[in-house]
Amino acid sequence: MNALKRTVLFDSHVKLGATLVDFGGWEMPVNYPSGMVEEHLYTRKKAGIFDVSHMGRFVISGREAVKFLQYVLTNNVLAVDIMQAQYTMIPNENGGAIDDAYLYRFYEDEYLLVVNAANIEKDWEHLNREIKRFDAQIADRSKELAMISVQGPESKNIIKKLFGSDFLTEPLKNALGILDYGGKEVLIARTGYTGEPLGFELFLSAGDAAAVWARLLDLGAMAIGLGARDTLRLEAGLPLYGHELGLDADGCEIPIFSCPLARFAVSFADAKGSYIGREALLKQFQGYQKIMERNFADLSDLKRIVRPIALTGRGVARAGCKVFKGDKEVGYVTSATMVPYLKTEGNGLESRITDEKAMRAIGLALVDGDIEPDDNVEVEIRGNKVAAVIAPYHLKSDAPPFARPIIYGVEAGRKFESAPDYRSKALNLLEKSLYNTRWRQSETINLIPSEQSHSPAVRLLSVMDPSFRYAEHKKTKSFYDYDVFYYQGTGFIDEVEHLLKEELKTYFQCAEVETRVISGQMANAAVFSALVDYKNRVNRKRDAVRLGYVLNNHIIRGGHLSAQPMGALRDYIAVDPLTEKTAVVNFPVEKDNNFKIDVEETKKIIAQYKPELIIFGKSMVLHREPVREIRKFVDEQGINTVIMYDMAHVLGLAGDYFQDPFAEGADIVTGSTHKTFFGPQRGIIAGNYRKEDHRYDLWETIETRAFPGSVSNHHLGTLLGLLMAAYEMNYFKDEYQKNVINNAKHFAKCLSDAGLSVAGDPSISFTETHQVIVRVGYGAGPEVANRLEDNNIIVNYQATPEEEGFTASGAIRLGVAEMTRFGFGYQEFEQTAELMADVILRNKNVKEDVRKLRGSYTNMKYCFTDDDVIKELEKLKSFL
């Protein structure tokens, strides 16, 4: 009889009193004295550590390493950048899985492949056989490298403390890092098998494993056995080889595409060429597409698919139980058990995870392709049929730092009361609006950086007669580009628009301005649309080629969502066929200040990718953008690119006190007109293309993508208001811009002196813009913002560059522009800083103090207030 194999952590498990079992030939802990239920819940609430050293770790290198891996793995190896990982499968010729695996690229020329413990021999034999035809090598590092998984909301803090490092990896799934442990390298990956949004796997030298394991326990992690590892992955809907992959209950191969993660693990990129199982997989993929499109007529290409299943009746489903729909047997359960969860209280961001345990009987089932989420089915358990339902998923992790169990059938309801009859509804609406306006305009300190208040003149003009009208117009070549209007009664607006253009050209010192877009994101979309159109102007007889590569600020670094593939860029960005990812590359940031673009590293990226569009601009912004430096670089290198600056937040600061975008070499500036700029809520596109430029066609395309591309009615009311705002900006900008930036620096310093943690470079007083970022603790942003709102201080919570997403926000974002406009100066911002510290650090109630402070500052500055103007406003009011 062969003795069971043991990992380097075996003694640690014994010392902890683990219950040991035979797992694929290894003597492993199935649970520790706390039990599987406790271990599962502790991982979800705090952090669990898992000895996964029994898994296989192979290193592939050599001249044809990539070629070899493209041949033996299902996924596209070219999509794995350095410091990235990827889920993949080792296929056989039939499109079944020999194993599922994870590929890690910690070094340029070396790939680490991690495989399941139970399949190590089989995988090793297979890979060694196939590698013979390639100039590549494979080494088994399973013994030298131990592997420990650390998963759960506390995992990041614990690992940071263990290694004394503030930076582990980028806050993105599959990101990698290399840490130092007593002079040795420890590889860290943001990967895991629990569905936790915060989770890491550590690869370390076998000799250090026991010490690191002990330290992790000291720092508050709990040791988790294979039992809870299984319930955690089951809840996350992740496949287990031997259940959802491999052989089915009848001993037949489960097609790879029956496993729902296949679409992330399988690639048909041309770059992969022919690989093991490609033909079979392609056929399966067609079957998968049919199922996803609900085309159930012919499921022969993919008969069955794995779906999450939840019992609605009493009982516990187990692997092997048959699934029925009516009398028809439609499949069987691949994995299932009773899984614990913690109940929550409250809704949305305010939901709180309680300590109250509950159980649910859930699992995964391999069922016919036409069985869909929400279908009611039955599971046969020991001869009895128990009611069940196909669930869309059991767990969601889009609200870090917690993975959230999703109980089938639960809906989060929202109710707003409404009066019984319409007259009362109308009255209530007016009363509530009055209350809301009075509150924000005289009782609160408004520090949301995207917001500004408008002058009475701007507000009133925005609702005068033009707000009911149309004035569509287009430059017509036949009339030497004279504007032709399609409506009557438009003489007034014609003049207004013309004057507005002139004012804005003066403001920006540029050649052209397009004012018909009605939001910042629309302005960006119109520019993207124009760039695609311009790119394809010579050949319109085929599908338009999209933009790529594009260089932007990643949303995590403060880039606005409109410049991301998730926002306006989505319909205009190309997919790079080599990597199968969107052709976007991000500005790298300085190591010591991740709010600042690293100019030297950016130059390298530009030289490598030669982006055709560079988008500067951020919505979390403390510094000027290096437009001048990059313009100089692309001109020197002869790189043909468009430099676009989405100034939205800082539009009102363009000039001597911040930066002059066109003077620095930007081609296009876009923005919303209502943040630091005094306007009503609209958008704007400015360009420096002169009629003589050979690129002037691009500008004209931008104009047509604004109208008729983006709008028909371009909201003439606010257009009129915007002209007054442009007058105000041009007249008062010197005083306003200087005061905003000085106030921001002073405010930042006061907040820091008051004991708060202010982000940015203290040597420049933290900021160069209207914004101040204050760190309040990981995940504490939303609660602090709420508490401040309860005290009439309005800020918004903000995820800083190290944080995973807005629900994990560890900071608040402040802007001084609005209160500067209401007359706040150094003293008032100092008082505000004190009040904020009272709320944030000492949990005091300062609502009355805030009201009093704001109450004395309700007169707006930087607008025309002489008697003649007031008289005209009164006359206008009488027309409401």
Partner: protein, 125 residues
């Protein structure tokens, strides 16, 4: 390992507490410990007639389902509903938290079961 005196024990790790013609039946501390966290309990219908050594219910852990056997023949007169709500009660105290109460067909069958000290011995091995 907790073992209560005065009860009778089966080799399948059930205990039985006789009170005249009726008896309470549950699983032992040894059993709950080897099962681990109990996540589900299936109890019989009241009135069911179960013969000696036949399964009267199921106790399920995360990893497996285990039948529970009646040490003597009898009729179910009561089931412990609390276990439906909170199966982990058996883990907390296997002897306090009985599973069923039966009316025994033949109390003399109790003599074929083990005493506390006899049961203790089979647990040690």
């Amino acid at each position: 390992m907790k073992i209560v005196e005065g009860l009778k024990y089966s080799s399948d790790h059930e205990w039985i507490k006789a009170e005249g013609k009726t008896a309470y039946v549950g699983i032992t501390d040894y059993a709950q410990h080897s099962l681990g966290d109990i996540v589900y309990v299936e109890l019989p219908e009241v009135g069911a007639k179960i013969s000696k050594n036949s399964a009267f219910g199921v106790v399920e852990s995360v990893k497996a389902a285990s039948d529970v056997f009646l040490p003597v023949s009898g009729t179910i007169i009561k089931v412990n509903e609390a276990l439906t709500e909170d199966p982990a009660l058996i883990n907390r105290d296997a002897f306090e938290n009985w599973m069923v109460q039966i009316e025994m067909d033949d109390p003399k069958e109790l003599d074929q079961l083990m005493s506390a000290s006899e049961y203790k011995e089979i647990c040690i091995e």
